[in-house]
Amino acid sequence: MRRRLGLSILAAVLVAAPVGAQTKAKAENVPVIPHTSVPNFFKLPPDLYFGEGIGIATNSKGHVFVYHRSGDTRLFEFDQNGNYVREIGQGAYGIEFAHQVRVDAQDNIWVVDEGTNMVIKFNPEGRVMMVLGRRPEPVAGAFDSTLPPAPTEKYRFGRPTDITWDAQGNIFVSDGYVNSRVVKYDKNGRFIKSVGGARGSEPSQMNTPHSITSDAQGNIYVGDRGNARVQVFDNDLTLRAIYDNVGNPWAICISPGPHQYLFVSNSNPDANPAASWAITGEIYKMELDGTIIGKFGKAGKGLGEFSTVHEIDCRNPNELFVSEISAWRAQKILLTPQKPQTSSAAR
């Protein structure tokens, strides 16, 4: 047992994680899906501000949750029309530096916080129901982030990034910037198994698993950002497929329903190097087997352009929500519905 992570109150969490250079997606001749952005969808009270748009998710009623890095990291709830409803988790132990928010099938709201190494489950009323991981005790002091990571532990994370579930309620956490693995827990938070571990580029290894989602069969899709690929695992975390033609996946999302789609964002880097805008920023719409249906968007600061998309909500595959780091905002994006199952789609 080694204490690895310490005081998260300082800027240790701000030390840049190794992010591979953003790459141009290999896929070519991808059809463009027309899209529009709903102007001024989110209506904040005058004294509240969005910070970096890190996480965004909807519940079954259409309410939208935004987990963002404002002066303090905060979790806001909006109704289906974008009206501000409330804040959740204000002053909770473990809300320090946002990384993701997701809503499960029972409308519980889960946040992943990379500043405290915690995953927190709120019930729909906003009360804490379960926590995973443990915030390092402040008295132990900050850890030296330049040291190599300690061996992974079952119940402690190293700057975790995202969470998803299967139909049985098993929990899958992508972990993360320090560790390079996916961990599976049962619905009561008991460790089952993990895949990955040491950072690497071999199949099943990961280099910043940044986003995770699942399909109706319980397969697990991991946005392996540093390796510029999506890795697909079955429910036992055995590797099934790799999609390496859609750039560096910052955010991935699978829509519900009988015909599921996979959305993958090849986000432009948050430092916004000039050359990156020409080759990144687009979001791909794909079949679950990796077939690309089309793409939309490009890097930029305007409405309908994307400034480092960090999470996509695709509960309705034609009405997406995206949160963006470098623009301090979230957008509601309307896609022109696609005909199902085009046979001439690009690969």
Binding site: M1, R3, G6, L7, I9, L10, D72, G89, Q90, G91, A92, Y93, G94, I95, E96, G126, V128, M130, V131, R134, R135, E137, P138, V139, A140, G141, A142, F143, D144, E153, K154, Y155, R156, N188, G189, R190, F191
Partner: protein, 377 residues
Amino acid sequence: MRHALRILLVGAAVAAGGALLSAQLTIPEIQFDSAPEPLKLPDNIYMGEAAGVATNSKGDVFVYTRTGNPTITIGTARAVSHGGSRLFQFDRSGKFVREIGQGAYGLLQAQQVRVDRQDNVWIVDQMSTQVIKFDPNGRIQMILSRKPEAMRVPALPLTPLATGLPIVQTVDPPAGRGAPPPAAPAGGPLPGAGVDGESFQRPTDVAWDAACNIYVADGYGNARIAKYEPSGKYIKSWGSRGRGPGQFNIVHGIALDAQGNVYAADEGNRRVQVFDGDGTFKKQFLNVGTPTAICMTPGPRQSLYIAHTGDPDGMEDAAIYKVDLDGKLLGKFGRAGKLPKEFGIVNSIDCRNENELLVGELGNWRVQKLTLKPQAR
């Protein structure tokens, strides 16, 4: 199973040495329930790690919890610490009454809360290194030790034995953290003995005898128990870091019986040591796992509840033991986990009512109210 076996073996080994131990083949399981939502907080207040829970004579419940973000600001180029823990009061029905000590100087990292016979509320803060006494009205009456003016970031490591881990994974023999205790420097004080007086290093618990003398478990950084007059004037301390009688490897909790004997949860050495009120070693219990919390029941026939946390996360090996004052195991209950009736790093037990316990957990951010259904002794 392996654990029980180990108890037996250890028992055989130390029986000749005079250590008290009950080599029981089976420990009775105590039946119990956990009440749903025993404490109700307002919508905008969240329980964090429930480091301390205690009741007063009226049944009011006090919880000292690590919540919000511990913060360091820059003053004259030094790191100044603020916040990170809050003290809440609930009534006997679990309804939120108020917060005590909001914005006070020393509430940084909650470690424990205890209520004395006069219903004063005492908190122990690991990071400010302080014991703070509030009167029943919530006003500060006494301070033991002084908060460091500035924090070092990153913090200096503690001695090799006290790595700052809250929970200890020990190896056989039950000997703490797997490293030999440091040798005493020639002519110097014993390691971990601390300085004479009230400068604590990450203290863990507080208790009183019938004469209202104060005993402080100190703690992670030091390895001693310090004793004070009711006025707060220092009397003496005992202990140093190590494995022998009267030595500690993280003294994590203390409780006193009606005769003034001191029961110290020596977490890293996986034992409870018993001293008289002057610090003379009397006996030890080696059958209580890794003790992380300890509570003495009131009444004519006293017993101890001792929380055992055998893994660092409270997910694999945990229970609460009930023992009599001779160390005989009366029963045990609970297991590790996140569900009701499971324990995720118990840090505090209130046992004012012998069969209705309040249990504070670090790992699960909650207080459980447990109703025990023991069979008659």
